[in-house]
């Protein structure tokens, strides 16, 4: 029990008749970095805000750092750090003043505040710019400072809602270094993102679509098993005709055009592929088994879950 930092069971949020988060189960171990991925409006922010005690769940329950979010939100708040999707430091205050403010809100002991601020400033790479107004900082620095503010009180659990959106790649990479540094100090982190390459940096990925958890696992697991078949790359001439033809083949789970090639997901043997196409007038090269990218996996799973959701 001590090893579980976040535990959600049947977590649900309705806005009127609209279900934003639907019966979500999620369990995160201490020190884990879990990526929260899903299309716009999937319910990532809503889930995170429920876990922070900012929104009351409509149904289900969640425990964070051992406290129930609905019954004991105050205790939850003292044990978490949160970066909201919007940038939310005070632009008209300086770096130092922002840190002092958030340190005070969390009642960081007075004796320690200087040391912790020093650490946060170092982490953000803002040494020597303590008195600069935050609104004049570039995106990457702002985000790292916001992270610094969110961890001044040394929370064991961190919720980061798209902390790297709109930040250039180099700054994003630095930000993820910080995340891993924190994780190595056994801080538990749930981080939502739109960037596929960031998903690779996570211990596990939770894929959410239309409020439902579609898949959860390590990047490797998801690539290997989530699709329920093997992915092949195929070069051929009439791409459009090939896709139509493959759609009728029982062993094909899915076929899609990827630039000038086809990606075909198949269960069972691939032997019958070329002949099937040949009898339908499409000449194709030798299918080459490839490892699906996480993007392949997500696109597949999301479209499948959307179809399932509609029926």
């Amino acid at each position: 029990m001590m090893d579980i930092a976040v535990q959600a069971t049947g977590l649900t949020k309705r806005f009127g008749s609209f279900v934003a988060v639907d019966n979500l189960d999620l369990s995160i171990a201490k020190g884990e970095v879990v990526g929260f991925i899903g299309p716009n409006g999937a319910g990532k922010s809503t889930t995170i805000r429920m876990l922070c005690g900012l929104l009351k769940p409509s149904a289900g329950r969640a425990e964070v750092a051992g406290f129930d979010v609905a019954r004991d939100p105050e205790a939850v708040r003292a044990h978490i750090g949160y970066m909201s999707q919007k940038f939310s430091l005070y632009g008209d205050l300086s770096v130092r003043e922002n840190l002092l403010f958030f340190g005070g809100l969390y009642q960081v002991p007075r004796g320690e505040i200087e040391a912790r601020m020093h650490m946060a400033i170092g982490m953000a790479g803002l040494e020597g710019r303590e008195d600069v107004l935050v609104q004049t900082l570039a995106g990457g620095w702002k985000q790292r400072l916001a992270l610094g503010c969110a961890i001044l009180h040394r929370p064991p659990v961190l919720f980061l809602d798209e902390p790297t959106s709109g930040v250039e790649p180099e700054a994003r990479r630095k930000f993820w270094e910080l995340i891993h540094q924190l994780a190595s100090q056994s801080v538990t982190i749930l981080v939502s993102t739109h960037y596929m390459e960031e998903a690779e940096y996570c211990n596990r990925i939770a894929l959410i679509n239309a409020g439902q958890l579609v898949a959860i696992g390590s990047p490797g697991e998801l690539r290997r098993h989530a699709l329920g078949g093997t992915l092949y790359e195929l070069s051929c001439e009439a791409l459009g005709a090939a896709v139509t033809a493959l759609g009728q083949m029982p062993e094909v789970i899915d076929a899609a055009i990827f630039s000038d090639k086809l990606h075909v997901l198949m269960r069972g043997s691939v032997e019958a592929l070329q002949p099937w196409l040949a009898t339908r007038g499409v000449t194709a090269g030798q299918p080459v088994p490839i490892a699906p990218s996480l993007e392949d996996v997500f696109v597949q799973l999301v479209s499948r879950s959307s179809v399932a959701g509609q029926t």
């Binding site: 922070c52 005690g53 009351k56 909201s84 939310s88 205050l93 958030f102 005070g104 009642q107 107004l133």
Partner: protein
């Protein structure tokens, strides 16, 4: 708790100091408005139409009439022959002021008794009426000092003859019309109200819009700590507003300050708490600054109109009169007018003070409750 409140206040003050235009925005429009309102309210009016009725036909009464004519302020449109005719003049809009000198006026003066003088005022334009009444008072005072010096045969030790002006209005409204400085205290209350309500509403909504509110709410801060941190600075700004505008009214426009500054401070404090509560409530009803702007407009204007600031409450339809009972501005206008002009204290003003306190408690409680929920 103290620590969190401290950092909230520190943050508010820093933000206020960073905002180079804050002081300008807070003070300059306020001063301009007082001056504009002040001049609009005390603008001299000449040739006020007057209907005169002299039922006494004595030397004394003719003397008074000549004072009216000689003043140059009045234009005698009718030498009426009956009280009924004077009333008809006013009701028809031919005259703004009617002066009736009743029979026995001179006799009363001569015997050193107070002599009655009836003044009728058309209350429909309260501003002109106020100014006209000011003139009537001036003329009567001039007549009195003249009478005191001149040769009325006063018995040895007889008192200086006095005049009582009994005032009445048609239409019968606006009880406080008797006071020329009725308007400026109203301006003070109204401006402070507008400023405090909108400042509070906007400050909270801005934090909501920028996203800092969410960041604060996820910390262990209690809603009341946040609300205190947000409102204390505006409370102080509101007090400065009232002080500044009152000073200007007294020094520039010569509004009398008869009463106690402490009673005013008490009334202003209760009033500002209610205004802050209203601002907070508006902020919980809006997601964006635009919505706050619309709501502010929607609420603050009726509160001003239905406060007795310009339009007398007793002349309003019953429904609107009922509505004024939940209007903090209405009660504060009673307090500030009474303190400045009449010098009365809490022994008279306690019902208004109590109403302000009650409104403050209700509005603040409502906004704290709504504040908790509005996070959803």
């Amino acid at each position: 708790m103290i620590r969190r409140l401290q950092v909230m206040l520190m943050k508010e003050l820093l933000e206020l100091r960073r905002d180079r235009w804050a002081m300008f925005r807070l003070i300059v429009p306020l001063l301009i408005q007082v001056i504009v309102f002040g001049y609009a309210a005390t603008f001299t009016v000449n040739n006020v139409s007057l209907s005169l009725l002299d039922l006494d036909r004595s030397q004394g009464s003719r003397e008074l009439v000549s004072h009216f004519v000689a003043s140059g302020r009045f234009d005698v449109v009718d030498r009426a022959t009956s009280q009924h005719a004077v009333e008809a003049d006013i009701d028809a809009g031919r005259a703004v002021v009617g002066v009736i000198i009743h029979a026995g006026f001179a006799r009363a003066l001569d015997s050193g008794k107070t002599a009655p003088l009836q003044v009728l005022v058309d209350g429909t334009n309260s501003n002109t009426a106020l100014i006209a009444l000011g003139y009537v008072n001036q003329i009567v005072a001039g007549f009195q000092s003249h009478a005191a010096q001149s040769a009325w045969p006063a018995g040895a030790g007889a008192a200086v003859p006095g005049l009582t002006v009994s005032m009445s209005e048609r239409p019968w409204y606006n009880q406080d019309l008797a006071d020329r400085w009725f308007f400026i205290p109203g301006v003070i209350g109204t401006l402070a109200f507008m400023q405090v309500v909108s400042l509070t509403a906007f400050a909270v909504v801005r934090e909501r819009e920028v996203g800092t509110l969410e960041q604060i709410m996820v910390s262990p801060i209690r809603p009341y700590e946040f609300i205190l941190g947000k409102t204390v600075p505006f409370f102080l700004i509101g007090l400065v507003d009232v002080a500044l505008v009152t000073t200007l009214g007294v020094l520039w426009f010569g509004v009398p300050f008869v009463g106690s500054i402490w009673v005013l401070l008490l009334g202003a404090s209760l009033f500002l708490i209610a205004a802050l509560g209203m601002g907070l409530l508006l902020s919980t009803l809006s997601r964006t600054q635009q919505q706050a702007f619309a709501l502010n407009f929607f609420f603050v204007n009726p509160f001003m109109t239905l406060s007795g600031f310009a339009f007398p409450i007793s002349a309003m339809p019953a429904v609107l009169q009922w509505f004024t009972r939940i209007n903090p501005l209405r009660y504060f206008l009673v307090v500030i007018r009474a303190v400045l002009l009449k010098g009365v204290g809490p022994e008279v003003l306690w019902p208004s003070m109590l109403a302000l306190a009650a409104l403050g408690v209700v509005l603040l409680t409502l906004s704290v409750l709504r504040f908790n929920k509005s996070l959803d």
